[in-house]
């Protein structure tokens, strides 16, 4: 595909999926710098996989790219200084915001399919049929991914001193 055609297709995909990508990215990062970094990774992923994004499964691919970009951004951030960015919350909600940030970070560490499944199920509030469709698997497998993701999250969070509000 010629570069001009690729650029045209990229901008079209970007326009179509930008609201969805922005919303998911923001919910998973809640930090402007992290959001911008994840968005850049997502755009790079879209540009590199443009050929795959022309078919009917484009939405599922974009979902995968967005979550993979989110994981990369979190990995970079925690890799630099080990600190997690925490958005300044209202005073009475401070510790709860820290909990949310830790959970976001743990979601980014999950295996790709589990991460996608749990984000679709609990953050996007999608039903299992839609999750199965996007993950290209059966509904039972989608349930299994969500269940495994919840268990993994629970185990990973067990060792951390979280605010039980």
């Amino acid at each position: 595909m010629r570069d001009s055609k690729r650029l045209e297709l990229f901008e079209k995909l970007n326009r179509e999926h930008a609201p969805f990508i922005n919303a998911v990215m923001w919910k998973l990062t809640a930090d402007a710098d992290l959001f911008a970094e994840a968005l850049q990774y997502a755009m790079l992923g879209i540009w590199q996989n443009l050929e795959k994004l022309t078919g009917p499964k484009a939405g599922a691919y974009i979902y995968r790219i967005a979550l993979s970009a989110n994981s990369k951004a979190w990995r970079n951030r925690t890799g630099k200084n080990g600190q997690i960015p925490i958005t300044k919350p209202p005073e009475n909600d401070a510790l709860d915001e820290e909990t949310l940030t830790i959970v976001r970070k743990e979601i980014a560490k999950l295996p790709e399919q589990q991460s996608q499944a749990i984000v679709m199920r609990y953050i996007e509030q999608s039903d299992y049929r839609l999750i199965a469709d996007k993950l290209d698997c059966t509904e039972d497998t989608a349930r299994s991914h969500v269940s495994k993701a919840l268990n993994a999250l629970r185990n990973n969070l067990a060792g951390k001193n979280l605010q039980e509000s």
Binding site: F10, W26, K27, L39, W47, L150, L153, R154, L157
Partner: protein, 131 residues
């Protein structure tokens, strides 16, 4: 942390409002990324087929020139033919010193030429003999 609590936290993350300025930030990131894609990439001009062919032609032509060129023949002076007035012991002027003088007046190709080493050596022997 129990399952229900975790689900509540996940739901809370899902219900987080997206601030309106995020769309602006996203637009800015998107514009920067698109602008970076539009920067023309440098091409490896030296790898284009036409230039490769031209370079090959130049190399072949240079070798061919070397193959077809002929060496410049060396300037050989034949000692015997250039000494018609050479005097010998049997001539009328048979004075020893006169012969020496005449020999000293002859040209000396050995001292002047820069040709083949063997020929030079032969010439040197001749001149030595004449001296």
């Amino acid at each position: 942390m129990n399952s229900e609590k975790l689900k509540q936290i996940l739901n809370k993350i899902g219900q987080a409002d997206v601030p309106p300025d995020i769309a602006l930030l996203a637009g800015q990131v998107s514009r920067n990324f698109s602008a970076a894609l539009k920067i023309p990439r440098p091409q490896h001009w030296f790898l284009t087929p036409v230039r490769l062919l031209a370079a090959a032609a130049v190399i072949v032509f240079a070798f061919a020139l070397g193959r077809w060129s002929k060496p410049i023949p060396p300037k050989i002076t034949i000692y015997a033919s250039q000494s018609p007035s050479r005097l010998t012991a049997q001539s009328n002027n048979d004075s020893f010193w006169q012969q020496k003088t005449m020999a000293a007046m002859q040209s000396r190709p050995y001292a002047q030429s820069t040709g083949n080493l063997l020929n030079l050596y032969k010439q040197y022997l001749k001149e030595k003999q004449n001296d």
